[in-house]
Amino acid sequence: MNNNVLYEDEIPGGAHWSMLMRQGTCLRLIDKLGGANVGMLFYNPSNYLERYNAPDTLKCQHTFKLTHGHCLYSDMGRIFCSIIEDSVGWHDSVGANSTKKSVAEKWGEHSYQDYHNDWTLNGHDSFLIELAKYGMNARDMAANLNLFSKIAVDENGNMHYETDNSKAGNAITLRFEMDTLVVFHTCPHPMNPAIEYPKQPVIYQISKAAAVSENDECMNSRDENRRGFKNTQLYNIGCGCHD
């Protein structure tokens, strides 16, 4: 994996960024120190109205947690990307975002004026900033992924944030099945009970993906995903992206 990395960079904790990922490329995210959180959203760069859809992703695969073998769906029945590797085991897609208010209530106000690069950004504002770069705003926000974070649910439906879900060096690899605008932040999960605002850095690596084989784990993990791949293939033919 590491020997064909085209690009590698590190994003500090409590920050945000966005980039275009082409079909047939991989994005590997590594939790450098443990306890990271990556809030993430996907958009079709040709039509921002097509976006990551958490309910469709969960119900199409009858899962609440996300890990290797799962696909991340748009609202149009297509697969933005597949989770081809994961050493974490559980990623969240229901906790949504921290806000300016929730961060201030939990960890106190740390303004840019007073703290410069040690200020405490929140997930909601981070997405607003990145989305505005593409002409989008809060209306375009959907329920996001919280990679590296785990919310478990008991028999009565009560939600629990699991501490220590992700360890130093844990990683997840997303293989993009169609061109995708990736918007992300490294602000803490809104249910993180840490005493101090956690600022956990994330390393990301971009590489070229191997062709999807007949026995690909994600495509074959269930009939729904075979059909999701079929829908995505039709879209890529229309884009001229087909192999």
């Binding site: 229901v94 209306r139 009565n156 939600m159 729904e224 059909r227």
Partner: protein, 212 residues
Amino acid sequence: MIKVSKLQPEQAIDRVVVAAGDYYIKVVKAGQTFRILDLEGNQAADTLFYNANNPAERYSAMDTLREQGNIYLTAGTRLLSNEGNLMLDIVADTCGRHDTLGGACATESNTVRYALEKKCMHACRDSWMLAVAEHEEFGISKRDITHNINFFMNVPVTPDGQLTFEDGISDAGKYVEMKAAMDVIVLISNCPQLNNPCNAYNPTPVEVLIWE
């Protein structure tokens, strides 16, 4: 939590029966109470809410769940907006549990869930698309069509992270009632799904009642 309402249908100021496969879009004013009544049982009512004075503010499934710390909606649930404001309180519920994780059916997601050749079957999102197209006055478009509530639907999550679709726990005559904390646009698709037990494979009408 089962909680029976004291409101009488005869005193409602507005009553509308919504056929399966149709939509309902109407403003419910702050302080008014409205009820969705499952007329024949096991029917899913896919519902979205918007601030009538600023539809960019809308119901947020994930903020609602996280703030109550529980994934099921029932009497006592505070339905929150994407800005963290209270939109409605669920004040009565004779069903006991409603889902907001499963989203709505769409023709595209139906191809994934059931079969590619089911792509042209009617779906909730098509009802919403028609609703927003026929009612531009509300200022809602596809951008605003987000994660909804599935009233009367039962979607349990297991401790090991499975999401399951169980037979409905609703029945003929069961209802859920909400009191609006702000003027809200109520947008319902009465689900036309024929491929899934959420409607017992037989979509049926619901009634929407409003009280002052």
